[in-house]
């Protein structure tokens, strides 16, 4: 028995003397055993809720426009019909989150706190590249287990920038980006109609159409379109910019009036019944 091991055995408080803060995995073994015993009985372990999303962003003449749908799915069931996927990071930087809903939410909140601390420490407004760097370092550290794909966009002192960060930690810097399960549908609209330095209305319409393509062509995306327009002057958060899936109003009455169909012939066949048995039961009505 080596000396270090015997000290550990004798000393029950060693754990508390040297406790460092890290994510604890003590429940992991229990989860593995539970999952295997559940699958033996034929049940499935609960999985994390994903957003099943379409998120998109473009750089236009004066800044950045981010767009997102508003549906959150729990496997094949819609868990939230109107969730917010465009998260605040800094007054001039916003972030759309796809992937596991909780991971995207907490990651962006941690980023917002870090950016605020950094701003207070350096005394300078934050850069979009700084947010992207912190995000990619954190996501790489957790090797993709934090399942959030994010589109970070904002306007800082160096100009308007748009980055996308994948769950494993890679990032892209492009003039237009889409992520989520509806990314393919949305990017097809961008590939067709994107031009550099578009005007505001044209750009808003383009992002709206891209998210609408995701809403209609992807099962995991739905409900409304949220837009966020970020310029040097400020941010315009347009929640519920468009509701393409709203049901139309019925214009008139579509029932047929009685007598629309003409009766040509009428035959009556009486069904003769004989009384076989009669019994009376008195009900207690008091």
């Amino acid at each position: 028995v080596n000396s270090r091991h015997s000290v550990e055995r004798r000393d029950p408080c060693r754990k508390y003397l040297l406790s460092t803060k890290h994510i604890s995995v003590i429940n992991d073994k229990r989860n593995v055993v539970l999952e295997s015993s559940l699958s033996e009985l034929g049940y499935k372990a609960p999985i994390a809720r994903k957003t099943g999303t379409t998120i998109a962003g473009i750089v236009y003449k004066d800044g950045v426009i981010l767009g997102a749908d508003t549906r959150a799915t729990d496997d094949m069931v819609v868990a939230d019909k109107n969730c917010m996927k465009i998260h605040y990071i800094a007054p001039n930087i916003y972030c759309c989150g796809a992937g596991v809903a909780a991971d995207a939410e907490i990651t962006t909140q941690i980023m917002a706190s870090n950016v605020e601390l950094h701003t207070l420490n350096t005394g300078r407004p934050p850069l979009v590249a700084m947010v992207t760097r912190q995000l990619k370092q954190m996501l790489f550290r957790y090797q993709g287990h934090v399942g959030s794909s994010l589109i970070v966009g904002g306007v800082d002192v160096t100009g308007a920038h748009l980055f996308s960060v994948y769950p494993h930690g890679s990032y892209d810097k492009l003039p237009f980006l889409t992520m989520g399960s509806g990314a393919a549908a949305a990017v097809s609209i961008f590939e067709d109609r994107f031009k550099p330095n578009m005007e505001l209305e044209e750009a808003k319409q383009l992002v709206n159409d891209a998210i609408a393509a995701g809403i209609f062509c992807d099962l995991g995306s739905g409900s409304n379109v949220d837009l966020c327009v970020i310029t040097e002057a400020g941010v315009e958060y347009l929640r519920g910019y468009d509701k393409p899936t709203m049901k139309g109003k019925r214009e008139g009455q579509y029932r047929y009036k009685p007598g629309t169909t003409a009766i040509l012939t009428k035959t009556i066949t009486p069904l003769s019944l004989d009384v076989v048995d009669e019994s009376v039961q008195i009900m207690d009505t008091e």
């Binding site: 080596n2 270090r4 091991h5 550990e8 055995r9 000393d11 029950p12 408080c13 754990k15 508390y16 003397l17 406790s19 460092t20 803060k21 890290h22 994510i23 604890s24 995995v25 003590i26 992991d28 073994k29 229990r30 593995v32 055993v33 907490i106 941690i110 706190s113 870090n114 601390l117 950094h118 420490n121 954190m138 550290r141 957790y142 090797q143 287990h145």
Partner: protein, 134 residues
């Protein structure tokens, strides 16, 4: 297998009362579970801070010479000694300031905060151990 990492073997010294494994406190027993890490990130997360410090110190040594990491490590050692009573959670403020982690928030600040741990050490035993009376 490296000779300086100690692998605890199950069954030789069970943690429960009367030398029998305490399933309620330590979980289900399985030799495989004790020998191998159960989560793919368990080992990398346990050593993350250590590896980061090692890398930073070696870079510093290459750039500025041996004195720079030596002086810093001396300060770290001094800061690590500032602790509260053994059974209380210390804030580690000096250590955090040296490391720069007082300016950053991560998962370790949000999840499994040791100050809110459900288990607590036995205060008398811990103080006696610290004073060398045990």
């Amino acid at each position: 297998m490296c000779c300086w990492c100690f692998v605890p073997v199950a069954g030789l010294c069970p943690q429960g009362a009367y030398g029998v494994r305490d399933s309620l406190r330590s979980g289900f027993s399985s030799v495989k579970n004790e020998l191998l890490p159960s989560h793919p990130l368990e080992l990398s997360e346990k050593n993350f801070q250590l590896n980061k410090d090692k890398m930073n110190f070696s870079t510093l040594r290459n750039i500025q010479g041996l004195h720079a990491p030596l002086k810093l490590q001396m300060e770290y050692r001094a800061a690590r000694q500032i602790q509260r009573l053994p059974f209380l959670q210390s804030s580690n403020l000096a250590l955090d300031t040296l490391r720069g982690s007082d300016e950053a928030i991560g998962f370790e600040d949000v999840l499994s905060d040791p100050a809110q741990c459900e288990m607590m050490g036995e205060p008398h035993m811990m103080v006696e151990y610290k004073l060398g009376l045990l």
